[in-house]
Amino acid sequence: MEITYDKNAQEILSTIKSFARKSSLWVIAYGTGCGAIEIPPTMTSRYDAERFGIRGSATPRQADVLLITGYLAVKTLKRVIRTYEQMQDPKYVIAFGSCTINGGMYWDSYNTIKLLDKYIPVDVYINGCMPRPEAVIQGFIKLQELIMNKKAEGAAKYKENLEWYRENQRKIIHNWRMPEYNW
């Protein structure tokens, strides 16, 4: 029993959905690196991200946005992948600082990854070491634009190219004891 909508109605509906999604971004509070310290000023009185509907959430099940705040050790990456997979679709990733882009000052570390988007799909990068709260909010607004234009399809990309991502992940996480991601 497939319900078919009028095309216009469908469009309106999907616009409403996109609008709701963009206006209500719940961020999973996962402080991975030094960038985590930039989040409190972003959220509190000085910069007040809540005026854009950005709010912290306690668990990945409720969250929409995974904020990778800085360098990722291999051990942390494993937890990040786990957290990302526990989030509910649609979900977005914002990567934070140069460490996630090219390794940053940890470019030669034996234990930190240098390219985040080889492991999980990143929708928006925020440059800087560390980015200021203004830059963080700018990143969120960029993400909102992408959502409104239906271009923030990281989760779909992940689902499509799961094999490729898995291969990359398994390359550095040797002892793979993760539950299967069955989407």
Binding site: K78, N102, L115
Partner: protein, 193 residues
């Protein structure tokens, strides 16, 4: 200031009397350095804990003396009575890196030994909890050993952003563009000079 070192000297004297082979040196106020033979470390720890009331072990550290083919273990002890730190050092063989655990004196030693085991590959005999600490599932050479090439490892294992695959020292590029001379210290410590 010299007359203020009475306490330190007194403790140093006691150590000298008990351990005659030990090199005892009062480095500055509140710090005594003790160099010990490998087999005297445990008697010394017992002595410090029971006789000198060094109830607290702050840290265990390790130095890789690859030139001497030795590891140096550093035990940092603190007494709450005198507030004088004792830094007890010993050297062990690098090839057969084994040392008896000090977990029996201070339970928290377990964590420090786990860390040293992971980063230097020293096996602490008697500590049965030398499991993964910071590095999960590490299969390579222990990374803090000086013969471990971290750049090579990272290039082999992690992806590089195109444009940074040369992974050159930033300072070199900076000096090239600005025409300034690279500082001497930087020359020494730069990874690829």
């Amino acid at each position: 200031m010299q007359n203020n070192l009475e306490l330190e000297n007194k403790i140093a004297e006691k150590i000298k009397i008990a351990f005659q082979t030990a090199e005892v040196q009062v480095q500055r106020k509140q710090r005594i350095k003790v160099n010990l033979n490998e087999d005297l470390v445990h008697p010394f720890l017992t002595f410090a804990k029971n006789t000198l009331s060094y109830k607290h072990l702050s840290h265990i550290s390790c130095v890789d003396w690859i030139e001497d083919n030795q590891f140096e273990l550093v035990y940092i002890l603190l007494s709450y009575d005198s507030l004088v730190q004792i830094i007890a050092k010993t050297r062990i063989n690098r090839e057969k890196a084994e040392f008896p655990t000090a977990r029996n004196y201070w339970p928290q030693v377990e964590t420090y030994e786990r860390e040293i085991h992971e980063l230097y590959g020293i096996n602490f005999v008697g500590n049965d909890h030398l499991v993964d600490f910071v590095l999960e599932d590490w299969e390579d050479l222990p990374p803090m050993r000086r013969d471990f090439d971290t750049v090579k490892y990272s290039q082999e294992h992690f992806f590089n952003r195109p444009g940074r695959e040369d992974a050159q020292d930033v300072r070199k590029t900076v000096t090239k563009h600005s025409g300034e001379e690279l500082p001497d210290l930087a020359k020494i410590y730069s990874v690829r000079n």
